[in-house]
């Protein structure tokens, strides 16, 4: 696989891009190869000028070749399709290398979108249209970075968290118990080539009424309004940056918000507070107070921590859930430093107590 552009030169090094063995697609590919999948159109050059013990030099399909190699070590044997080039000139080899290494980077969002349509159908997209997270006729973006709207992963995450929260909330008979726990909003997997397990559990029954669930519908509509309000507020503010505009759509804010919406289904007064767009904190220009969140840091956090609600880590999701839960206590509460401080401290305190170390 260490194909060279100038075979006769020892100074000519491996020309192909690095193998991405930790990439989920590669891991899936390896698994498929081990299960006896046939691969085709692997582009190789027959050349014995170097490493004559391996005359086929791989130019296109090195990940597939590596998967086959790993599978053959596990005694999986089958035919694969190769396109073999002979007697290439330097120019021809160079063109072949260039073409084979031109990688159109397919985003996880595109994978997710295609998989959703094939495996589940159009339910998720239609639901997003109904609640206002997508406009009619609009699809999930194929690359999140180019579009400021909900992705397939985020929409799935919303659905899953709403039902996870609802299930958890039903376990508590009193509102008091809600406060004595910390929560772990879930983030659906993306780009794995398979449907996220938790999401699949919810949608696998095609006769399921989840898409007509009134609570989910109401939560989706409220969230779409919050996202819109956040977006509009930041557009009008002095700091009109993308991160602040899309604060509601981050991988920790959205799961936490949806989880709390589910959790509070059996606590209508608090649910009402949660679903309402929060009033602005003093000095803030947007309902989620993105600037305050972006500067937030706890003593536990690493130096490189970029503020609350920016990362997809479980810690950030837990904290955001507590922030939303704290805000739901009082209809006039807003996302100010005091509320954020107290909510994060509560999660940290509860986590320490849950270790069971306490005497």
């Amino acid at each position: 696989m260490d194909a060279r552009l100038i075979p006769e030169s020892k100074d000519s090094l491996r020309a192909n891009r690095e193998l991405l063995t930790k990439n989920k697609t590669f891991q899936r590919m390896s698994q498929d190869a081990a299960n006896g999948r046939e691969f085709n159109d692997i582009i190789v050059e027959y050349n014995c000028a170097y490493s004559p013990e391996k005359p086929l030099k791989v130019w296109g399909g090195q990940h597939r070749s590596k998967s086959i190699q790993i599978a053959s070590e596990k005694e999986t044997s089958r035919y694969h399709g190769f396109r073999i080039y002979f007697c290439l000139t330097k120019e021809q080899r160079s063109a072949l290398a260039l073409v084979s290494n031109t990688n159109i980077n397919v985003s996880n969002d595109l994978f997710d979108r295609q998989l959703e349509e094939i495996m589940v159908g159009l339910h998720l997209r239609k639901w997003c249209e109904q609640v206002g997270l997508l406009t009619v006729g609009e699809d999930f973006p194929d690359a999140k970075s180019h579009a400021e709207r909900v992705t397939t992963q985020l929409a799935r995450t919303f659905i899953v968290n709403f039902f996870l929260g609802k299930k958890k909330g039903a376990e508590f008979s009193s509102a008091d118990q809600l406060l004595k726990n910390y929560y772990e909003p879930y983030l659906c997997e993306s780009g794995t080539g398979t449907l996220d397990e938790k999401y699949y559990d919810i949608v696998k029954n095609q006769d399921s009424n989840i898409w007509k669930d009134k609570g989910l519908q109401e939560a989706g509509e409220a969230f779409a309004l919050l996202n819109k309000a956040q977006n509009n507020a930041i557009k009008k503010s002095k700091i009109n940056n993308k991160g602040f505009r899309n604060k509601a759509l981050t991988l920790s804010v959205l799961p936490a918000w949806a989880f709390v919406a589910g959790l509070l289904q059996s606590h209508p007064a608090r649910l009402k507070n949660h679903l309402a767009i929060p009033k602005l904190a003093k000095g803030a220009s947007d309902p989620l107070n993105a600037k305050e969140m972006s500067t937030y840091k706890h003593d536990q956090d690493e130096k490189t921590y970029r503020g609350l609600g920016n990362r997809s880590s479980i810690t950030d999701r837990q904290r955001m859930a507590q922030v939303f839960l704290a805000r739901s206590l009082d209809p006039s509460a807003c996302f100010d430093k005091k509320l954020i401080d107290k909510a994060v401290s509560t999660v940290i305190g509860l986590k320490v107590l849950s270790k069971g170390y306490a005497l």
Binding site: T295, K303, Y357
Partner: protein, 175 residues
């Protein structure tokens, strides 16, 4: 903007470096004193913030005495109203010593207690005495701290922060 233990330790280190550059001049004592004070302010900040985390817990998870200790407020027996006969937290300030706070946090929220016979605790006590001599000066005990004492104060406060962090949170912090 809130200043955290990390920045305060950096301040202590900055003053220590200045003291090193000032060598034996009069300024060296000024810098070493400032460095020691900042080291302990960093430690106090870390401990107080950790105490704050537990004061944020919902009621019923800690006793009124524990809550009072964490909030540094007095706890008294209520003699009237709905809570008559029960202990409740008042608005009266009850400041706790740094040692007590450290001992309480470790004993209440970890599997362990502070080993007061350890070398680290002895070093901490020694440096705290130096800090106390700066904050509560007496003319018969005035002593300008040395550069090595300033360095030791930074080292020992960092080690105490790590000790408490590991015991209570189960993880190390980054400086």
């Amino acid at each position: 903007m809130t200043r955290y233990y990390r920045e305060l330790i950096e301040d202590a280190q900055w003053f220590c470096d200045q003291a090193d550059n000032a060598q034996a001049s009069l300024n060296q004592g000024r810098f070493t004193s400032a460095s020691i004070l900042f080291s302990f302010v960093a430690l106090e900040s870390f401990i107080n913030n950790m105490m704050f985390d537990f004061t944020a817990l919902p009621s019923g998870l800690l006793t009124p005495h524990e809550q009072g200790f964490l909030a540094e407020k007095a706890v008294e027996l209520a003699d009237s109203g709905a809570n008559a006969g029960k202990f409740e937290i008042t608005d009266k300030r009850r400041y706790q010593s740094l040692e007590y706070k450290i001992m309480f946090l470790v004993a209440r929220f970890s599997k362990d207690t502070v080993d007061k016979g350890s070398t680290l605790w002895q070093r901490f006590q020694k440096m705290k005495n130096v800090r106390d001599s700066l904050t509560h000066p007496r003319k018969d005990e005035i002593k300008v701290p040395s550069l090595s004492e300033a360095e030791e104060a930074i080292g020992v406060t960092k080690e105490i922060i790590q000790l408490v962090s590991q015991k209570v949170w189960g993880k190390k912090v980054q400086f």
